[in-house]
């Protein structure tokens, strides 16, 4: 995709012999923003899968060892509980590993998980730089900055989403709150917070990766052990963002999804996209 060229109207018109009415399109995402957006998918998946394999080696949350099994890891408890109670899992060969076998590379794979985690982490940092450059070149950063009215407007949007399914059921109109900005306040909070979470993940990651040379960085997060807890929960920020993000994009329709691929939207007149 070449950079979005502001085509001359005459030039476009000559390529349409019947002089069809043109479609109004509005530029939404810079090429570099689109690339880094999609690259985040495999990179974050690799980071989470390998990260949980690293977590397995020394869980940050643990209870007193069970006298019968010797287990201290709540995630292993979840696996054992599932294999005992969920139909179809009773025959599972290694219940304590169920969770790790399904949301990580697997248990007992620390060396390979570390190598994959470093590779993905460096790619994640590079990808973050691509995103920042894209935001700068396309001017998209201005649309992400928080506003004073964000809190009130975010509540309005929240109310809209909560009421929408009920309004549909009752066949009542449920107007979308109006904003004359690229994103609504709720989106802006999310799209601003997620890059911040990415930045914090990188910083907490470095502070637990190099806790001696970068001990000042670990100190910002409350020391080495607390930085590990930060790093773990920052992963959940991504997971908890991605789920509603995907649902809302799919609900909003093709134009919104397409705009993250092609860069433009045909919703020139309205600004409430996802």
């Amino acid at each position: 995709m070449p950079p979005f060229i502001q085509l001359d109207k005459e030039q476009v018109a000559t390529s349409t012999p019947e002089c069809q009415a043109g479609v109004l399109v509005v530029r939404r995402h810079h090429l570099l923003v689109r690339c880094s957006h999609w690259l985040n998918m495999p990179i974050l998946l690799g980071l989470i899968l390998s990260g949980l394999s690293i977590y397995w080696a020394s869980p940050i949350y643990r209870h007193k060892p069970d006298p019968r099994t010797g287990n201290f890891d709540p995630l292993a408890d979840v696996g054992m509980w599932m294999c005992a109670h969920v139909p179809g899992l009773h025959q599972y060969s290694s219940p304590p590993d169920w969770v790790y076998n399904h949301i990580s590379l697997g248990p007992g794979m620390l060396a390979v998980a570390l190598r994959l985690h470093w590779l993905c982490a460096y790619l994640f940092i590079l990808n973050g730089l691509v995103f920042v450059v894209g935001l700068g070149l396309g001017g998209g950063w201005r649309s992400l900055l928080p506003r004073q009215t964000d809190l009130r407007d975010a509540l309005k949007m929240f109310r809209y989403y909560l009421g929408l399914p009920l309004a549909k059921l009752a066949r009542r109109t449920w107007p979308h709150p109006r904003f004359n900005t690229k994103y609504n306040a709720l989106q802006r909070v999310a799209y601003f917070s997620v890059p911040v979470a990415g930045l914090l993940s990188v910083f907490t990651g470095w502070s637990i990766h190099k806790p001696m040379q970068l001990h000042w960085l670990a100190a910002i997060f409350g020391g080495y052990d607390k930085a590990r807890i930060w790093h773990f929960w920052l992963m959940w920020v991504f997971v908890l963002f991605v789920v509603p993000h995907v649902i809302l994009v799919l609900a909003d329709g093709w134009d919104t999804l397409r705009s993250m691929i092609v860069g433009w939207s045909t919703r020139a007149g309205r600004s409430e996209g996802f």
């Binding site: 109207k9 069809q20 940050i60 590379l105 092609v262």
Partner: protein
């Protein structure tokens, strides 16, 4: 989807953004600009869409295939993607490359003058016996000797613990030991500085590395399993790199590597070899127990 018609923008809005010749000047540098609107023929839009969806789709397939190949063999087998042993030579090359870059970054971050944080006695935490495999029988301790090789003198030196304690000053420090697995422990150590040993028994001039070895280490079933680590001499000369003889004010016990272990807080715990029996100085990087098993070799933290 009737979302679309519910809030088709007011006509006034549309005309203003599409046709206004000079959009209103933004109030500040940080203020969001009105979007650039342009008119494009529908066929052209379809062509752009087709091209970009194809390009991004191919990129996605390439990323999924490339990323999938990078996953470990056993994960792919468990997922049912592959059923027999597959070898992608480039995969190891790529993953080892990432490991090597990370080691280079660690080496660049390291400074002999940067001290690691020290703690107070109230911050000391329990330190578990993390012997790799079985804990050796303490019967080796009375006979224990440290052999130094690769010295400038060309000789091989053998020392016992009384020689070491008599000829070197002991230094105390309360520092954190960080395991590659993620857990850590703060402990009160005492020992001689590795730097002092290097000054007393000079390594040969071309030496850049030390190979530290313990012949008494055992495997998980009590089988002999000598442990060995590589240590760059720059790290060995760090003022907080000790050849520790004491833990919590008492001589080391067998589970912590009596009578002499390495304490190098700027490295991962796995470099902190217990019950050292031999130190060999070399010009080339020596082998490392865990590097052979897929971990990094520099391990600077």
């Amino acid at each position: 989807m009737n979302l679309e018609d519910e809030h088709s923008a007011p006509a006034a809005d549309k005309t203003s953004s599409a046709e206004s010749v000079s959009p209103p000047r933004p109030a500040s540098f940080f203020q969001e600009r009105p979007p650039a609107v342009m008119e494009v023929a529908p066929q052209l839009l379809r062509r752009w869409t087709r091209r970009d969806v194809l390009l991004f789709g191919m990129g996605a397939i390439a990323a999924a295939a490339g990323g999938g190949v990078l996953l470990p063999q056993s994960t792919l087998e468990r997922l049912g993607v592959i059923h027999e042993k597959k070898n992608w030579p480039k995969k190891e090359w790529l993953l080892n490359g990432a490991l090597r870059i990370d080691d280079d970054v660690a080496e660049a971050l390291y400074s002999r003058n940067r001290l690691v944080p020290t703690y107070t006695k109230s911050q000391i935490t329990p330190l578990k016996n993390n012997y790799n495999g079985a804990t050796p029988d303490p019967s080796y301790i009375p006979e224990w000797r440290l052999t130094l090789e690769g010295l400038a003198s060309g000789l091989s030196v053998s020392l016992n613990i009384r020689n070491l304690l008599a000829s070197f000053q002991l230094h105390e420090q309360i520092t954190r030991l960080v395991c590659v697995e993620g857990w850590s422990g703060i402990a009160w150590w005492a020992g001689l500085r590795f730097d002092d040993l290097l000054n007393a028994y000079r390594p040969m001039s071309q030496a850049k590395w030390a190979r530290l070895e313990s012949s008494v280490n055992l495997g998980p079933w009590g089988n002999p399993d000598p442990y060995f680590v590589s240590l760059d001499l720059s790290t060995a000369r760090h003022p907080q790199t000790l050849l520790a003889t004491h833990l919590n004010g008492k001589p080391l016990r067998v589970e912590h590597g009596a009578p002499l272990r390495l304490l190098v807080p700027v490295k991962l715990g796995l470099k902190n070899i217990k019950a050292i029996t031999r130190i060999t100085y070399t010009g080339d990087e020596p082998a490392d127990y865990w590097a052979k098993r897929g971990y990094s070799r520099y391990d600077g933290i």
